[in-house]
Amino acid sequence: MRGAMMGGYILKRLISAVPVLLGITIIVFLIMSLIPGDPATAILGSYATPENVEKLNRDLGLDKPMVQRYFIWLGNMLTGDFGRSFSLNRPVLDEIVERFSATLILAGTAFVLCSVLGVLAGVVSAARQYGLADKAITFIVLIGISVPSFFLGMMMILLFAVNLRWLPVSGMYAIYGGGDLPDLLNHLIMPALALAAVATGVIARLARSAMLEVLRQDYIRTARAKGVPERRVIMGHALRAAMVSIIPVLGIQAGFVLSGAVYIEIVFQWPGVGRMLVEAILKRDLLLVQGGVVFVAACYVMFNIAVDVAQSLLDPRIKT
């Protein structure tokens, strides 16, 4: 019965995502309409011929009113037509899908790392409050959240790739040979760690304070009063209750990991969607930017639905 209810809940959450997705497209559309001057000229650059400008204006429907333009744009995207990147001279969607898979590998690894390490560190820290482990973790965490990820990445390259020569400097695969899984992992270690550092710190701090909060609750006293062993009190009763406030933060941190990936991809020359976006902005390839932002944001919305479902599985008080 609970399974059926769960299915209904997931369906409900998916339906409720529709307005959010629409909202995302509206926000992106509005931001893009902030572009000063003639967008076609902005896209094509100042050396464009008047014919080209006029053709693009027609292609983009820029001669039409804004609302109509939005719906044309939306309709095109729904049919998979994100437009054509002028700087790469290929369809925007093809480029995004290719690049996004590289980002997923990097950000996904970093997300798993920061979730596991962060929660573990937080639990240990709380259980040993004011102890040596707590102090050490607090200190490392403080450094982790204070160092810019791009600087951390650069220093890691200097130390592990340049000086110690343990790991490759950059890229996703070796240029000659490679291309297999060990090669990928070898290239993944440094960027994933650098990317996970900040989020690990944030999650560890939150997990620590969530655990401390929970450990003061009456039901923990009840568990102790009935003689539950302390290890189970911490890892069972307390952690389970703390997860209720940790899981939403994991969802938010996933957004931060995805954001941080932009810097890390630049530093490590990782062929991901973040690097693509920055390059596109510098080249004023606005169709690519627009498409990339909508696509990644939509994926993030889906991910957050998964987080909500996980939360409702954990907490029976959420109405399913």
């Binding site: 791009f150 009456d218 009840t222 568990a223 995805l258 930017v289 627009q290 932002v293």
Partner: protein, 621 residues
């Protein structure tokens, strides 16, 4: 304000952060008058000079510009932009949050939908889209960073405001004739402001990082102007050959952000009143024991509390919550402990199995003997084996004392399985039997309920079932019916009474209600300011109270059937136990008190089973 600063600087890490940040700020402020090179003048002949070369303390960059000068000017810029972004985001976000939280309903719904929409973006996408539209540049980066942080403030502040708006003082302000604007500005804002300050102090470092990040990507400050991020970005290509050009700005960002984070944490801790009292400490698995003085000898009681002293150490203050309490129960006996809040009755009960939250609780004297064995200071495992097995507890509020995320069947089974190795199927059937024992209808279905799916009365039955799970010898019930409605209370009391008669249980029943004591308990002990002031058989104490406090407390409680009348009040307030008067603690409120009551400690005297701690008792005993 001065207490705030004192608290802030007592925190050594925060003080360190303040010193580092202060030094950086000072350097940045005097930068224009320092004898430095022009940060933007290139000298290609001098490129990539190493640090500590003459004339260039930190060396030069790829265009031969003086790194020290660029660093200080860049720091100036980064700090200014980061702080400006934080201020803008905090102001707009908080305003949105307060409005949404205060008005609630549709306003809230629409605003928060918009905020959720913005938060549906990984923040950098939004920032990148804004920069893409407006074009790269430092001001545009500032706008982008401020804009993406507005939703965070809005959501955070809205949450706080909703909590505050539920407080009765907001209703009171409306009834005093205040309008919405006035309430927001004079009632809400002063209470929200510390949270805004905390949120700002903990995010300003983050925003400096973000603007530096955009500059690092080449989307923020444009050459030749440089902030720390663009310095790092420009140095990246020469990172391997000339690492110092990267390390210099990178370390500066790190120092700034770290010192701001340290200071921000300090500000948060100093402003958060819960941390002020040290209440945010995690209670340990057992209460701390620092026993002084002799340990009383064993008796033949089932459970004996002997000269127990439990204190709370908060800062420099010592609260003597329990000041030498002795109580004992035999099998099948029900002992009532009655007193007002702060009398130490609950702390006495929790001390028995080492469940007083510690810190701040410390057991400083006496003994608790179960079948002669002293439990105070016993190893954790010894105590754990007794907890819930031989001595079980029932607590006051059954909603907060049951774990919200476990089914009640699981919680009952766990109580058994913590002491007996049995399979989960058997544990479940025992759980169902326990639910039937406490007369929960339809136990087979109820066993799979979560606590929030039950009514208060049913939850308390589960609490009792859990206490009975291992057929303990003693049950300590700490105000088990106080949170319940009167019709439910009657059911629970009669259930407890039946159970103890059927099973020969010893019960220690903590309450503030004489009616309950009269109906349930064989003997009663009255507590005041951490001590027992009177004890004896219930009927004897209630019919002829010997201590003036007992007598007047009984008199001031209205009783049903007494009709409309003026009540006999006790003047004054119960004393705070960190500053007890010498002598009898009740003397300041007692109309019979003499000088010798206040002079020296009064002892508990009498003939078994009656005793009273008074020099001028109401009744001779």
């Amino acid at each position: 304000m001065s207490t705030f600063l004192k608290l802030l600087f007592r925190n050594r890490l925060a003080a360190m952060g303040a010193v580092v940040l202060g030094a950086i700020l000072l350097l940045v402020l005097v930068t224009p008058i320092l004898p430095l090179h022009d940060p933007d003048i290139t000298a290609t002949a001098d490129r990539f000079k190493r640090p500590f070369t003459e004339g260039h303390l930190l060396g030069t960059d790829h265009l031969g510009r003086d790194l020290l000068s660029r660093l200080l000017h860049g720091t100036r810029l980064s700090l200014a932009i980061g702080v400006a972004a934080a201020l803008i985001a905090a102001t707009i976000g908080s305003a949105i949050g307060i409005v949404a939280g205060y008005f609630g309903g549709r306003t809230d719904n629409i605003i928060m939908r918009g905020v959720d929409m913005l938060m549906a973006f990984p923040y950098i996408l939004l920032a990148l889209a804004i920069v893409a539209a407006l074009g790269p540049g430092l001001m545009n980066a500032l706008i982008a960073v401020a804009a993406v942080n507005v939703p965070f403030f809005a959501r955070n502040i809205r949450g706080i405001t909703v909590g505050l708006a539920g407080h009765e003082f907001i209703d009171a302000a409306r009834l005093a004739g205040m309008g919405h604007t006035r309430i927001i500005l004079t009632e809400l804002l002063p209470n929200v402001l510390p949270v805004i300050v905390i949120a700002m102090s903990t995010t300003v470092g983050w925003m400096i990082l973000e603007t530096a990040g955009l500059s690092f990507l080449g989307l923020g400050s444009q050459p030749p102007q440089a902030d720390l991020g663009s310095m790092l970005g420009e140095a990246r290509s020469a990172m391997i050959s000339h690492p110092h050009t990267s390390i210099v700005p990178g370390v500066m960002i790190f120092l700034i952000v770290m010192s701001i984070n340290l200071l921000g944490d300090g500000v948060r801790d100093a402003l958060d009143p819960r941390l002020r009292s040290g209440a945010l400490s995690r209670p340990r698995a057992t209460t701390l024991v620092e026993r002084q003085g002799d340990i009383p000898a064993a008796t033949d009681d089932l459970l004996a509390i002997q000269e127990l002293e439990t204190q709370f150490h908060v800062g420099n203050r010592i609260y003597r919550a329990v000041g030498g309490v002795s109580l004992a129960v035999k099998s099948g006996e029900c002992l009532g402990v009655i007193g007002e809040s702060g009398s130490g009755k609950s702390v006495t009960a929790l001390s028995v199995m080492g469940l007083v939250a510690s810190p701040p609780g410390v057991i400083t004297g006496g003994a608790v003997r179960f079948q002669g064995e002293d439990l105070i200071g016993a190893p954790y495992e010894t105590l754990r084996r007794k907890r819930g097995d031989r001595v079980a507890y029932i607590f006051q509020d059954p909603l907060s004392t049951l774990h919200p995320l476990y089914r009640i069947g699981q919680q009952l089974a766990e109580a058994i399985q913590s002491h007996h190795k049995i399979g989960s199927a058997e544990a479940r059937s025992r759980a169902i039997r326990l639910l039937k024992d406490v007369r929960i209808p339809n136990a087979e279905a109820r066993v799979d309920n979560f606590p929030h799916e039950m009514s208060g009365g049913m939850r308390q039955r589960v609490g009792i079932a859990m206490a009975l799970a291992n057929e303990p010898d003693v049950i300590i019930a700490d105000e088990p019916t106080t949170a319940l409605d009167v019709t439910v209370q009657a059911q629970i009391l009669s259930l407890l009474d039946d159970l103890r008669r059927d099973r020969g249980l010893a019960i220690i029943f903590i309450t503030h209600d004489f009616g309950v004591v009269a109906q349930l308990c064989d003997r009663v002990a009255v507590m005041y300011a951490g001590r027992i002031v009177e004890e004896g058989p219930t009927k004897a104490v209630l019919d002829a109270p010997a201590h003036p406090y007992t007598k007047r407390l009984i008199a001031c409680v209205p009783e049903l059937g007494g009709g409309r009348r003026e009540l006999a009040a006790i003047p004054g307030l119960p004393p705070v136990v960190d500053d007890l008067p010498p002598g009898c603690a009740f003397a300041p409120r007692c109309d019979k008190a003499q000088d010798n009551c206040r002079a020296a400690e009064v002892v508990l005297l009498g003939n078994e089973p009656r005793a009273v701690r008074c020099l001028y008792p109401e009744e001779a005993i």
